[in-house]
């Protein structure tokens, strides 16, 4: 036995808390193991000075001491530009100490391929514990791995596991404890690969080890059931149809299931507003609290159920192995439009946020391919657009979840379609050339983990709420102030109506109606003459052909800071413009907003036009800044802004005017 601590290049400087890193090929259940070890104590983070995004969690050692667990992204190799940062993290550098132990998650059903990566870890002298995961899937496929033989071949401890069901968790904890407590390992076998070994040499070594651990049986017999499913799901026609059906079903579920919690949130915030109205005396502070703060936050929080549900469902889909098939189906499209196969990861990431999407485009080695991906990437519907889509589709099809879901899915497809159209256009003009094809491994099918999906939904929900805490909150306060000031004297019409209501001989019912009309007129007049009204009116001519009044124009302007601000701005404007003490839900308030002439702000044509505008417009300063930085030129950020804004304006114009001509109002 060789004490690991005697080799400083392996362990670095020991310090507390103990730190372990989870590594392995993609789809080997690392995140499931992570969740089993850490439970809810996790957050997403970056190591200083790197772009490697990972989850960092807390667990407990046998003696009650802290154990830090790091879930690193899935990798096939430790060599190559994309693995540079992960390798530096595992070996340690000036900014980060190396982990005390690396737990390599290995798919027992695909042992040989997974072991090539383990071989690299061992070659670098990284203290490694192998977690032989998905042993049940392997057994179903007739693959029997002997963990003792495998450990002997590797010169590292091996723990068999079925992480999705928690089987082997206690043994894993014990093995981690043993490795940390007595940092020793068996003498490395003579045939262990050396650092810098070629992929071919690693593959040959891994084949040999896998064969020995499987008692000389062939590495992985083919799974006929998987093949049958793959033929259906990756077929050009049936694969595309299934993809469309899955996405349609996903969005329908989103609308159908989220209604109940959304109603609950609306009622709660409306009740909160009513309570504040009762306990606080009338005045500017009360208005700020009710219309600015509560109204604005409600307009954001109400969409939390849909966002969490979407990520919950996507996580379930990812776990089943279907998303990899969807990538395969979509890759055929990619190459036709001049996008590289590797663009799938950045484009998928962009559905959460364009910023990490653009940064993950660093994985694309060819500059032309990388530029094409970065330029079209913000067309993908990021999570900041979600609340806007939800609001506008709810306004378009209230109480009809199937239609709303369909239009919602259509918004995603429109964004993706615009990205491909633009990629094709650019590859024939500013970025001439053909993209490189993608090589993708299809993981085996398996039952999804509800626990993983719940954690993902929680992480996304928390991330979304954090935006409500700062930028949105600040904008709500400013927007409320801009729409409430300067205070102006009521117009003559209002004074006349009030005088009429107070005149003798007028019944209480008539007086009430007259006062309500006077209140509505006064609120509308005050808002139209407010600072927000003036700014919106000044810029409204630009958006008038798209059917937008000054209020929608204001919301478009503020949404340049962050798209979801659109909803809270509309909510604040709706609250400030509401006559009397209305305590209806935020959606109902926005739905009943009126223009200066008393007609509704959101007609079918206007809602559809705004939806198209939001799908296509480049309304995110952070994305522009990252485009400038990643491309190294301000020119590309300006091309992105100019092109996307122009396309959005023209498309929204066509939709609005087309619907009007067709008689849809």
């Amino acid at each position: 036995m060789v004490p690991v601590a005697s080799d400083p290049t392996v362990t670095g400087v020991p310090s507390t808390p103990a730190r372990i890193a989870l590594v392995g090929n993609p789809n080997t259940g690392k995140t499931t193991i992570f969740n089993r070890l850490c439970g809810v104590h996790a957050k997403t983070a970056n190591f200083p000075g790197t772009t490697v995004t990972m989850r960092v969690g807390r667990s407990q050692r046998a003696d009650g001491g802290p154990l830090q667990v790091i879930d690193l992204p899935g990798l096939y190799h430790l060599e190559g530009a994309e693995a540079d940062e992960v390798r530096a993290l595992l070996l340690g550098d000036a900014a980060n100490r190396p982990p005390d132990l690396v737990v390599a998650s290995v798919d027992a059903a695909n042992l040989a391929r997974n072991l090539a990566f383990v071989g690299e870890l061992l070659a670098f002298g990284i203290p490694t514990l192998v977690c032989l995961n998905m042993s049940d899937v392997a057994e179903r496929r007739g693959v029997r791995v002997d963990p003792v033989a495998l450990a002997s071949c590797l010169g590292a401890p091996v723990v068999p596991m079925v992480a999705s069901r928690g089987i082997g968790l206690a043994a894993l904890r014990a093995a981690i404890e043993d490795a940390l407590e007595a940092p020793t390992r068996p003498e490395p076998p003579a045939d262990r690969p050396v650092a810098g070994a070629s992929p071919a040499a690693l593959a040959t070594w891994a084949d040999g080890v896998a064969a020995a651990a499987q008692g000389g049986l062939p590495a992985a017999p083919t799974d006929r059931r998987t093949d049958r499913w793959d033929r259906l799901l990756t077929h050009p026609v049936s694969g595309t149809l299934v993809f469309l059906a899955v996405m349609g079903g996903l969005f329908w579920t989103l609308f159908a299931l989220a209604t109940v919690p959304m109603d609950l949130i609306e009622t709660t915030f409306a009740g909160l507003g009513a309570l504040v109205r009762q306990v606080m005396p009338a005045g500017a502070l009360r208005d700020l609290l009710i219309d600015g703060v509560i109204g604005g936050i409600a307009g954001t929080v109400v969409f939390l159920p849909q966002i969490m549900l979407l990520f919950f469902l996507i996580s379930l889909l990812e776990d089943t192995g279907y998303l990899a098939r969807a990538a395969f189906v979509n890759d055929r499209l990619f190459s036709r439009f001049g996008l590289p196969g590797q663009a799938f990861v950045p484009l998928l990431t962009a559905h959460a946020c364009a910023v990490p999407g653009i940064m993950s485009a660093r994985l694309i080695p060819n500059r032309r391919d990388r530029l094409a991906t970065i330029l079209v990437l913000p067309f993908m519907s990021c999570s900041a657009r979600l609340p806007v889509y939800v609001l506008l589709t709810s306004l378009l099809f209230a109480g009809r979840p199937a239609l709303a879901g369909l239009v919602f899915a259509g918004a995603y497809l429109l964004g993706a379609g615009a990205a491909f159209f633009t990629a094709a256009l650019f590859s024939r003009t500013v970025l001439r050339g053909r993209a490189r094809p993608m090589i993708l491994e299809l993981p085996g099918y398996r039952w999804p983990s509800v626990t993983n999906a719940l954690f993902t939904a929680r992480d996304q929900g928390v991330a979304f709420l954090k935006t409500a805490g700062t930028t949105i909150f600040a904008i709500c306060v400013v927007m409320w102030w801009l729409s409430a000031y300067p205070r102006v004297a009521p117009p003559a019409g209002v004074t006349a109506l009030r005088a009429e209501a107070a005149a003798p001989g007028v019944t209480a019912e008539e007086a009430g109606a007259l006062t309500a009309r006077a209140d509505a007129l006064e609120a509308r007049d005050a808002q139209a003459r407010s600072f927000a009204g003036r700014i919106g009116r000044f810029l409204q001519p630009v958006f008038a052909p798209l059917g937008y009044d000054w209020q929608l124009t204001d919301a478009l302007l503020t949404s340049f800071l962050a798209r979801e601000v659109f909803v809270s701005t509309m909510s604040v404007l709706a609250g400030a413009g509401a006559s009397g003490d209305t305590d209806e839900g935020v959606l109902a308030r926005i739905r009943t907003m009126t223009r200066d002439d008393g007609t509704p702000v959101f007609t079918r044509a206007t809602s559809a036009s705004a939806l198209v505008f939001f799908v296509l417009a480049m309304q995110c300063l952070a994305t522009l800044a990252v485009t400038r930085r990643e491309t190294g030129r301000l020119r590309y950020a300006l091309i992105q802004l100019g092109y996307m804004s122009a396309l959005a304006w023209v498309a929204a114009l066509v939709v609005y005017q087309g619907l009007r001509l067709a008689g849809v109002q």
Partner: protein, 54 residues
């Protein structure tokens, strides 16, 4: 309950101050967004993050 004139005016001043403070937060975020400080996605997007910056 009704408020007297000076109290109303004080409230106007207070909400104006709140709006200015909120405006300063927005400007700070805008500047930070245009000049990403770190090399991580979270640092790069100053608009979509809470107060838990690393």
């Amino acid at each position: 309950m009704t408020m007297t004139g000076p109290v109303i005016m004080l409230q106007d001043v207070l909400v104006a101050l709140a709006a200015v403070a909120a405006g300063a937060v927005i400007v700070r975020r805008l500047l930070a967004a245009w000049r990403p400080s770190g090399d991580s996605p979270c640092d790069a997007c100053a608009l979509h993050q809470g107060d838990e910056r690393r």
